[in-house]
């Protein structure tokens, strides 16, 4: 006899955990199945060297949704203090690009007085459009492909929401969103390293670079969710979510992969695990990549030809590697004072650096001069390393999923070397302090975390895949299979640690399904 639950959640990353908790809070009996031994997904803390632990692959928590934390009863985790992110430029230039406003504006103005003024303009614009964008990011998306079927009131209120920006900001938002982030940043700033570092919010982990149209949209979305952080960072978040899940009676089955989603009469019936075990439930919600769910876990006959074609065209080509370093002593960046206490920094000296780093992956190579998003989680959480030692976590752009010649050990060491050399240019002596290094290529990320294509966002955040995510058949977390929903970053509103996708999906799990003639 197999076990029975009300809901099975596949994947125990932050989105899966969010869905599991929220469903359990509604009184459902929930099972959470995770392939890895521990929960947390990309936010899981991993011991990569005896005594040294990571803060997850996604090492920032600046995007976590406050409203979701509230509904989970984890409000106390939110702190309104913004984590400061620093841009590192050539010859010892350092400036905050994100963080408490006054300090950031001041820091930026040190390098170009006009940038300080324009930063105020930039922030003001972001603050004005935030309500509109965050409404888009925190609500059920509108299906404009079948806009006639949406409730007219709903359509009207959404349209008016945009209109309430005032005609100037509305036109400005519509003008800049499809622009390359390079053009957008050039309209505001002069300092090359500040523009370079800011552009990374738009392109990190994507198959795009500052000259790619549409990347401004990513920056705007990022700016619209960022604004608060989690006390204790991603580790505290993961721990809290796991604790909450256990309190709520979620049955966790880790170290066990789902190999099949079982279907009967076009409705979901349960899942089959790697060890042969079967679990039954009339509702299954999968937080893993939609492509993997539809193509690998469902029986072939569950999808029409068109659906299969569309989901296989969902772009999931990963472009970032993750490097963990165990460091002897603290890390000090040239030009940064001890007060700065830099725990999050970026090396992207110019927009062209970012662009050139991107060029490489088009030819299946990694960048000679990668651009880096660097976190030092031991500053906030010294437990992650032995006394007087540090952990450095680096997201490396760009590294292709399909590396010419494959991701051999040699290739991994070569990229590791390039990253260390690059950091050493901005933190002299850095290379002398390295105790251990572990690089995960996009291919490794795919193997270790089941990330299709190694894509950190579970799918390219190109405009087309943002407005309809992932495909029309799976719009709004649904799938063509009755009872099967999607709750991961491959659905609205997309990647980075925000927990929003997981929260939005729960509404679809409980919502009685509308009759849809076009879904076979």
């Amino acid at each position: 006899m197999s076990e029975r639950f009300d809901v099975i959640v596949i994947g125990g990353g932050h989105n899966g955990l969010t869905t599991a908790c929220l469903m359990a809070m509604q009184g459902e009996r929930v099972a959470l199945v995770e392939k890895r031994d521990a929960l947390g997904g990309l936010a899981e803390s991993v011991e990569f060297e005896p005594g040294f632990k990571s803060a997850g692959v996604w090492h920032g928590t600046g995007n976590v949704s406050e409203s979701v934390m509230n509904s989970l009863g984890l409000k106390s985790l939110i702190q309104n203090e913004l984590p400061t992110v620093y841009a590192l430029g050539e010859s010892g230039h350092v400036a905050p690009i994100f963080g408490p406003f006054n300090r950031t504006a001041f820091g930026i103005s040190q390098h170009a007085p006009s940038d300080g003024r324009n930063y105020a303009r930039y922030r003001a614009f972001m603050n004005r459009i935030r309500p509109v964008l965050s409404r888009f990011l925190t609500r059920r998306p509108l299906n404009f492909l079948e806009v006639e079927r949406e409730a007219p009131v709903e359509v009207l209120t959404r349209a008016l929401g945009l209109r309430f920006l005032g005609s100037h900001d509305m036109v400005e938002l519509l003008r800049v969103a499809p622009m390359p982030v390079r053009d957008f940043l050039n309209e505001y700033f002069e300092s090359a390293f500040i523009k370079g570092a800011l552009s990374m919010d738009a392109v990190l982990g994507t198959f795009a670079a500052p000259r790619s149209p549409g990347t401004t949209m990513n920056l705007l979305m990022h700016e619209s969710i960022a604004g608060q952080s989690i006390k204790g960072g991603s580790i505290a978040l993961t721990e809290a979510l796991i604790r909450r899940a256990r309190e709520l009676g979620v049955q966790v089955k880790s170290g066990n992969a789902v190999t099949k989603i079982l279907i009967e009469n076009k409705s979901v019936k349960g899942v089959e695990l790697e060890n042969g075990e079967m679990i039954e439930a009339a509702a299954v919600s999968a937080s893993c990549n939609p492509k993997a769910v539809l193509l690998d876990l469902l029986p072939v006959e569950a999808l029409t030809h068109t659906t299969e074609h569309r989901i296989s065209n969902f772009r999931t080509c990963g472009t970032a590697a993750h490097l963990l370093l165990a460091i002897d002593g603290p890390v000090s960046f040239q030009g940064a004072s001890a007060d700065d206490n830099v725990c999050h920094a970026r090396i992207a000296p110019t927009l062209d650096h970012v662009e050139k780093a991107f060029d490489a992956i088009k030819y299946d190579r990694f960048s000679d001069e990668p651009v880096l998003d660097i976190a030092i989680p031991t500053i906030d959480d010294p437990r992650l390393a032995p006394a007087d030692k540090s952990v450095v976590s680096v997201l490396v752009a760009y590294a292709p999923y399909n590396l010419d010649g494959g991701w051999t050990d040699d290739a991994r060491s070569a990229l590791t070397r390039k990253v260390i050399d690059t950091i050493s240019r901005f933190a002299p002596g850095f290379d002398k302090k390295i105790i251990a290094a572990k690089l995960s290529s996009p291919a490794d990320l795919e193997n270790d975390y089941g990330l299709t294509g190694g894509h950190l966002h579970h799918g390219e955040p190109g405009l087309d895949q943002v407005v309809i995510r992932p495909i029309p058949e799976c719009f709004n977390h649904e799938t063509p299979v009755e009872g099967l929903t999607l709750c991961g970053s491959g659905t609205h509103p997309g990647g980075t640690v925000s927990c929003m996708a997981g929260a939005l999906a729960t509404r679809e799990i409980t919502r009685p399904r509308k009759i849809r003639a076009d879904v076979a």
Binding site: F144, L145, E146, S167, H168, M170, V171, L174, R175, V176, P178, M179, D183, E187, A208, R211, S212, P213, G214, T306, H309, N313, R315, D352, E355, K356, D359, K362, Y363, G462, L463, D464, V467, I468, P472, D518
Partner: protein, 536 residues
């Protein structure tokens, strides 16, 4: 065709500055409506970038543009262009030679095309007709956008709403699947879009290039897929067909429009360089020429690009800071050049010897997506592409009068040639011949021996396009055709309806909706807007 170089009268109902095909179209519509109209063109010939000129004795080049597809059929009828000599001959083939001695040719005949594609991929051959059908269906939706002024989403005027309904008519008729593809076309890169359908690079590369023509983007840049549609939107003689040659080069189109305009009474003056629009208390009252002459007019219409119009003819002092900022953001950054050759025999491709029908169309040097991306990557950092994308046509095959008997002219559109080379744009003249050599060297790899057949060569860099044809930063479309400067944003929010903040001054060229390419649409829509205003 000869024009006078002095106006007959001191004042007109309307003066059109710039005799490009849009300026001429606008003039013809106004004259047909009974207005007295004067067109002032700086160069000795009309046509702007739709021009044919005898650059070397006996050889007529289609100097800039070389093929037509989007020219609005109702304009042909309204202005009786066929009677005035317009003749467009459809292209028979699209030929893409490969460096390895193989080649692909797509033909007017669907079966023949399938057989060609099947040599590279059986799957692609099967999908190709399906793709063409889907795209042709979508192309129809776009027509309602091109043929109507762009509605302004920020306006609360009910008339705008009606306009929005008209423009979106096509899309409202589409079903959800079609809208899905349409949305992808608007946002995806040409290469990614084609990846969804096809596997063979040999097919995808020459198809993808339509998305990059005239823009400073690569085939992997989002937003470049949209132009693929234009290839299924071509209308020649009212029939949905792809691209065509104009008899006599694209100058043939301009000449026909000019004749039509004259037949309605419009006056055309060449070698008349307008230096500024005369503005009195915020109203345009005429134009001043470089030679000091002044001509009065009730309405002045600029056929120049937005920067030349606003910052050149009008002047900053007449504009508010909001518009000046917007104009500052408006992007030109030309990315293409042109190499025109006179040869003493037809080119012989190593991959398809002889003078077969494959030469009677356009030839694309675009062997792979990576080749195109490499060309783009070089340009991003201020070099012209060593191995560029070349779109070549041989106009003498359809109009032998363009060269002495037995000889030919070859038109090569070349990308990328960035306006801002790292030496600085004004140093292009020193790089011009090197650029020409890169083009000929590239051709030599596919047409061994072509070098020896060249009698004359004309090389136009983006700098030359700016200096000679008045195209700011050498942009062939009067400004990039990217989403942020199309529709109600072209050229600036609030001023996208051919009207300008200077009373009685209007705009009618490619820097207004629906944008660049030989369409005539901007000229026509501007004339209609002006006539409506006058009638009211």
């Amino acid at each position: 065709m000869k024009f006078s170089n002095k106006p007959d009268h001191p004042r007109y109902d309307a003066v059109v500055v710039g005799g490009g095909h849009n300026g001429l179209t606008c003039a013809a519509y106004l004259a047909k409506a009974g207005k007295s109209v004067l067109v002032l063109e700086k160069r000795p010939v009309v046509g702007g970038s739709a021009v044919s000129e005898e650059v070397f004795p006996g050889f007529t080049y289609t100097v800039c543009s070389y093929v037509v597809s989007l020219f609005r059929p109702h304009i042909v009828r309204d202005l009786e262009l066929v009677r005035h000599g317009l003749e467009i001959i459809p292209l028979e083939a699209s030929f893409s030679p490969l460096p390895n001695g193989d080649s692909l040719c797509r033909w007017g005949d669907a079966h023949r095309t399938r057989r060609e594609i099947a040599r590279f991929s059986a799957k692609d051959a099967e999908v190709y007709p399906e793709f063409s059908l889907a795209m042709s269906q979508l192309a129809r939706f776009t027509k309602s956008i091109i043929d109507n002024p762009a509605p302004n989403p920020a306006s609360l005027n009910p008339a705008e709403f009606v306009q929005a309904l008209r423009s979106s008519q096509g899309l409202r008729e589409a079903n959800a699947d079609q809208r899905f593809i349409y949305m992808k076309l608007l946002t995806m890169s040409a290469a990614d879009f084609l990846d969804q359908w096809f596997e063979s690079d040999v097919l995808k590369a020459p198809m993808s290039v339509s998305g990059i023509i005239g823009t400073f983007l690569g085939v992997r840049s989002p937003g470049t897929a949209y132009v693929l549609l234009h290839h299924y939107m071509g209308e020649i003689d009212g029939a949905m067909r792809a691209w065509g040659f104009a008899k006599g080069g694209t100058g043939g189109i301009s000449t026909a429009i000019a004749r039509s305009a004259q037949s309605y009474g419009a006056e055309i003056v060449t070698e008349a360089h307008v230096s500024n629009v005369i503005i009195k208390s915020g109203k345009a009252t005429g134009v001043a020429l470089e030679n000091g002459d002044e001509i009065r007019a009730d309405t002045v219409i600029s056929g120049l690009d937005p920067r030349r119009t606003y910052l050149g003819l009008v002047g900053k002092e007449h504009l508010d800071s909001e518009l000046t900022t917007q104009l500052g953001h408006y992007k030109f950054r030309g990315s293409s050049g042109k190499v025109n050759l006179a040869v003493d025999r037809l080119p012989e491709f190593s991959s398809r010897p002889g003078d077969g029908p494959h030469l009677y169309g356009d030839v694309a040097i675009a062997p792979s997506i990576q080749y195109l991306e490499k060309a783009y990557d070089q340009a991003k950092y201020g070099d012209f592409s060593e191995r560029p994308y070349i779109n070549m046509v041989i106009p003498t095959l359809v109009d032998p009068t363009m060269a002495p008997p037995g000889k030919h002219v070859i038109s090569c559109f070349v990308q990328y040639a960035p306006y801002d080379i790292k030496e600085g744009a004004s140093n292009w003249p020193q790089r011009r011949e090197a650029f020409g050599d890169a083009v000929v060297d590239t051709l030599e790899e596919y047409i061994p021996g072509i070098k020896e057949t060249i009698l004359h060569r004309q090389v136009l860099t983006p700098w030359d396009l700016e200096q000679e044809f008045g195209l700011t930063e050498g942009n062939i479309f009067h400004g990039e055709l990217s989403l942020e400067q199309l529709l109600y944003l072209r050229p600036a929010a609030g001023w996208a309806k051919y009207k300008t903040p200077v009373r009685s001054l209007w705009m009618c060229a490619s820097g207004t909706h629906p944008g660049g390419g030989i369409m005539g649409a901007s000229g026509e829509l501007a004339a209609r807007a002006i006539l409506r205003k006058r009638a009211a």
